[in-house]
């Protein structure tokens, strides 16, 4: 087994029994369910497809779940001192980072699949025109964009957790970075260039979800999320290496 596999397996096992995993995932599913039902009712008779409603109901809650799931990845190791044993082992920093990141993404993927059950269960009870809009390819595309967004938030959260020994501080900082900064930047751009408002009525992150769910696939958007994720993960491994400089 490689160091990445060993780290991934250990972290998935730790997530399985952790209070900081079960409670946030349950809360996430409850919040998503509420948003989904509300969006469905509000858009009764509209052209919005069921996979779009699913995607748009999940996307706003992803940064919060990511922040809570990733807060313990390195903050806990630093507070318990386990980071010393990991860093003195013959393992590259990047292997540790990737293993831990993949474990968070495993939980994310499973949670997204569970959330997919809600539209699947509701679909047979909906009217025939709504049922007609549901496409398997649309659900797959929506899953891909949600997974890509989740990977970006998780990578950012993993990086933030390296800075802290306190998990709560890591979660709050990660939430500010993932949830707050995009909103502030969006409104700052609107304030700076009001003409843009007519072209981007929604947050671009939600527009990406909507576009993918309706079949507007863009490799440029995929590239943006992949590059951002890789950038954060690269930052993580370099930050870990920097711990050796200052102790």
């Amino acid at each position: 087994m490689t160091a990445i596999q060993v780290t991934w397996l250990r972290e998935v096992q730790a997530f399985r029994g952790a209070f900081s995993c079960g409670v946030p995932v349950t809360a996430f599913l409850a919040a998503f369910g509420w948003t989904f039902v509300m969006t469905l009712r509000r858009n009764e008779g509209s052209v919005l497809q069921i996979q779009s409603i699913w995607g748009l109901s999940v996307a706003p809650w992803l940064p919060i779940l990511s922040a809570v799931l990733t807060m313990r990845l390195f903050a806990e190791e630093r507070s318990t001192g386990m980071i010393d044993l990991l860093m003195s082992s013959p393992v590259r920093e990047r292997d540790l980072v990737i293993g831990k990141f993949l474990s968070a993404m495993t939980v994310m993927g499973v949670t997204l699949l569970i959330s997919l059950a809600v539209p699947m269960l509701i679909l047979p009870t909906l009217s025939a025109p709504v049922q007609g809009t549901a496409r398997v390819a649309g659900f797959i595309a929506t899953f891909i964009i949600l997974f890509l967004q989740a990977s970006t938030w998780c990578a950012a959260g993993t990086m933030v957790s390296i800075f802290f020994r306190n998990q709560a501080a890591a979660a709050v900082s990660s939430l500010v970075l993932c949830g707050g900064v995009p909103v502030v930047v969006y409104f700052a751009i609107l304030a700076w260039m009001p003409a843009v408002r007519s072209e981007t009525a929604w947050m671009p992150l939600l527009v990406h979800v909507y576009d993918f769910s309706t079949g507007l696939f863009s490799t440029a958007i995929i590239a943006v999320y992949v590059v951002t994720t890789v950038f954060f993960l690269f930052g993580c491994s370099k930050l870990l290496a920097c711990l050796r400089l200052r102790g």
């Binding site: 087994m1 730790a14 318990t80 001192g81 010393d84 044993l85 393992v91 200052r246 102790g247």
Partner: protein
């Protein structure tokens, strides 16, 4: 085997290690001792690649940890002062995880874990969750972790602290056995006991090496007296009569 050459390290402007030089041969058990704050733990952290020295050089069998860190770290076993462990795991699963993380081949994992459990007397608690173990057993698990992959160099930070007499004797026996295939550097304040099984004492004071003594060169009583005087003098206190 291990060469520590003019090592200097500072936390910001505070110099913690100042021109430390010594070497360690295979089979030696070197005790790093000195007053609190002398730099013992920091030196071990530099030797275990947790801190990067400001200047100077460390080499083990001509491997420089700054140039070939993975190869160097594969040859060391480190026990931290506070002995951190994953409390949710059982002793056996924890050691299995650690052996795999250290890159041992799958076929040898079970053998290595079995050897470490037996050597450290952990057989009876191998299926017990770590959170249920006493301090003494937790230290033994940490020691088993350091020993599990037969490292060439063991770096043990205060392994005797907080242990009762029986546990300390047991730890000493384990270390004596381990010294047949590894050099050991150990920090601690339990000088009377360490005199029985350490081959050399390196005394640190305010980040410098202030004395280096082979136990074979002195009688036990003389050595204890010399070390006590040196350490208390460095700490700025009066020695016991």
């Amino acid at each position: 085997m291990l060469e520590v050459d003019h090592i200097t390290f500072s936390y910001g402007r505070h110099r913690v290690l100042n021109d430390i030089t010594f070497d360690v041969a295979p089979g030696e058990i070197v005790a790093l001792t000195g007053a609190n704050g002398a730099g013992k733990s920091t030196l071990l952290r530099v030797l275990s690649c947790l801190l990067m020295q400001d200047s100077g050089r460390v080499r083990m069998d001509s491997i420089d940890p700054l140039l070939r860190p993975i190869k160097y770290r594969r040859s060391i076993g480190y026990l931290s002062e506070h002995c951190p462990l994953y409390s949710d795991m059982t002793v056996e699963t924890y050691l299995t995880y650690r052996v795999r993380l250290k890159g041992e081949r799958s076929l040898r994992v079970r053998k290595r874990v079995g050897e470490a459990l037996e050597m450290c007397g952990l057989d009876e608690v191998s299926k017990t969750r770590i959170r249920l173990l006493s301090h003494g057993y937790r230290k033994r698990v940490g020691l088993a972790d350091a020993l599990v992959q037969h490292p060439k160099l063991l770096l043990l930070d205060d392994p005797l602290a907080g242990l009762d007499v029986r546990q300390r004797k047991k730890t000493a026996a384990v270390l004596t056995t381990a010294s047949s295939r590894a050099a050991i550097i150990i920090t601690g304040h339990e000088i009377p006991e360490m005199l029985d099984w350490c081959t050399r004492f390196v005394v640190l004071g305010k980040g410098r090496v202030v004395g280096m003594y082979r136990t074979s060169d002195f009688s036990r009583a003389d050595m204890a007296l010399v070390l006590d005087r040196l350490i208390t003098a460095e700490a700025g206190e009066e020695a016991y009569p």
